[in-house]
Amino acid sequence: MRIIVALKPTYDVSQLKFDSEGVPLLDTCPVTLGEADKCALEEALKVKESLGATVVAVTVGQSEAHIKGIKDALAMGADEGYIIKIKNAWNISSITVANAIARFAVVTGPYDIVFTGSGAGDTHSSIIGPMVSALLGYRLVANADKVEVKEQKAKAKCTMEDGTYNYEVQFPAVITVTSEANEPRIPTLKAILRSKNMQVKEIGPEQLDLSVEEYKDIKVIKHMVERKRVIMEASDQKSAEESVIKLLTFLKDEGVI
């Protein structure tokens, strides 16, 4: 079995800071593989361990963050790692990214599964997986919370707004994985040292017969969090105690505590 895992380094939004005007300070924000992408890689590695598979990690871009992302994937256990050499990859259109991955699958394939994260941690567009499946003519399962791969087919559980869907899909297929699917492994020292001499392979757009389309008009201008203006009123001891309980419940529901 051969598996592609498409990965994208993203800004670690949990560590993103903003200036006093609400403008994100991207220069000081660490860039790492997105959580859902890491879960997609973990699913591929589980298939490798249970059924035997070659896992090929690929990313679109040639910056240090892209190279590091692929080296991280090799340390986690991917067998091969590629960067598709496109300059200024932060500003290319989603269709270019999807085309690049689909062309990569054709040129280096065939593959049984393309795994990718259900959405990137920064842009949240969630459209790369579906576009890759359309371009390749592969079946699609999107937003899988649980994946079980058997020979030539997979079962997947996907939680949607209106309920839970259980799918069975024949290969070849594109499966996008949510960050709920698993707890991705953390590379051990031995794995890091083993991956030390593994090469990050490069493939250019010309080898994939790919035309690159840049975004022209999209720029993150400002991040705002609206105040909720929830007021807990209290006029005496009893109502103060009730308000404290209400406040705690509210903060818990909001996921603050």
């Binding site: 953390i186 051990t188 040292l193």
Partner: protein, 411 residues
């Protein structure tokens, strides 16, 4: 000269950080509060390959080095600033490395894989009730009886006594003992592997007790009496009557990691303090970081912490060259000063940083809620002892730099 960590070292630090954020950071206060590192966390640390990092793979180790072990210990202490988990981890790296250098093949094969996997503990048993710095004055005695040694004595202020008793496999110590009779001197000391609990069975001839301490409650400190405990000769460490030299080299290895733990915790404290002085506003909305009384002190402490880091990683690099790459330029004695610098500077820098950060945080810093005191008390332990007291570090530096003819430990 290269002051940069390698790509693998940086990647390893990131992986330890990720591990800590997932498994240690959410529990560090609870660990300190309850006074117990959960056994499932110890097992997980083993599975992640954070024990026996510098030990060769043929003994179940990770085949890494001391620089990597120091990175792991520093990072763990950053996420457990009370340093219990970091100290447990440093013991499971330093003393296994010492055993892999000086121990018999049988002892290494028997013990090290179980330590690496997190199923057993291996620490140091040197200090006795009458003191720790005067190693030549220990009173525990091993007497030869055929192919065995019969050991009697008492050890005190020993780390990991409870953990050794609780772990499924058990564990033991790099035990320092007099040979045949307890006469003062360093030329009649022999070291042994003492396993009070092994294969899950606790010996009745070793009676442990656990002390009630003021800080870093997660890891136990205790003592044990040894009564007619028999050790096979193949569990003797190195040559008879050379034990003083082996344990001193073992101390040099472990001291580097003690210092690494203290700088990790200090880094947490300084980060917490920095965050506070940026956000705390006084006198018409000025951040307290804008006042020279605060920011000059910050600069001084930052410089001290950076210096301590250089001492730690230089010493780790020297241990690697001395024992792991066997570079002919490096001799064990060359480690004395660089290691003493790291062990002297790390804990003292950490407690200075904690004292200042507590003041920056004002009355909040003095509350238990701030949790800063946990790191203060935890790192303070290492200004007292652990692999050598601070005055022993000063003695070593003075002796080696000024000269033996001028500096004597009895003077």
């Amino acid at each position: 000269m290269n002051y940069e960590f390698s790509e693998e070292e940086k990647r390893f630090r990131e992986s330890v950080e990720e591990f800590c954020k997932r498994y240690i950071e959410p529990r560090w206060v609870e660990i300190d509060e309850k006074g117990h590192i959960p056994l499932d966390l110890i097992k997980r640390l083993g599975e992640q390959g954070l024990f026996a990092i510098p030990v060769p793979e043929k003994y179940g180790g990770m085949g890494g080095n001391m620089t990597l072990a120091a990175i792991a210990v520093e990072e763990i202490a950053y996420h457990d600033p009370a340093v219990a988990v970091a100290v447990y981890t440093l013991l499971q790296n330093g003393w296994p490395l010492a055993l892999s250098i000086f121990g018999s093949e049988a002892a290494k094969q028997e013990i090290l894989p179980k330590v690496a996997s997190g199923d057993a503990f291996f620490g140091i048993g040197s200090t006795e009730p009458q003191g720790g710095s005067d190693v030549a004055g220990i009173k525990t005695v091993a007497k030869r009886s055929g192919n065995k040694w019969v050991i009697n004595g008492e050890k005190a202020y020993i780390s990991g006594v409870r953990e050794m008793s609780e772990l499924p496999e058990g564990g033991g110590y790099f035990l320092v003992s007099k040979t045949e009779k307890a006469e003062w001197g360093h030329k009649n000391i022999t070291d042994f592997v003492l396993l009070p609990k092994w294969h899950g069975k606790m010996s009745e001839k070793v009676k442990p007790t656990v002390y009630d301490e003021i800080g870093r409650h997660g890891i136990s400190t205790g003592g044990f009496k040894i009564e007619d405990f028999e050790v096979d000769d193949e569990f003797r460490i190195g040559e008879i009557n050379k034990g003083f030299y082996y344990v001193m080299e073992g101390f040099n290895i472990a001291r580097v990691l003690v210092a690494a733990a203290t700088i990790g915790s200090a880094r947490w404290a300084l980060d917490k303090g920095t965050e506070w002085i940026r956000e705390r506003k006084l006198f018409q909305g000025k951040p307290i970081a804008s006042f020279q009384g605060v920011n000059f002190r910050f600069a001084e402490l930052y410089a001290e912490l950076e210096a301590a880091k250089y001492f730690v990683y230089r010493a780790a690099w020297m241990v690697d060259n001395t024992y792991l790459t066997n570079s002919p330029r490096f001799k064990p004695r060359d480690l004395d000063v660089p290691v003493a610098l790291a062990k002297m500077k790390g804990p003292e820098t950490a407690t200075r940083i904690y004292e200042e950060v507590l003041k920056w945080l004002g009355a909040y810093g003095y509350t238990k809620e701030s949790n800063v005191y946990r790191g203060w008390l935890g790192t303070f332990s290492y200004t007292i002892g652990a692999e050598g007291s601070q005055n022993i570090m000063r003695y070593v530096i003075a002796r080696e730099v000024i000269g033996k003819e001028y500096v004597s430990h009895t003077g």
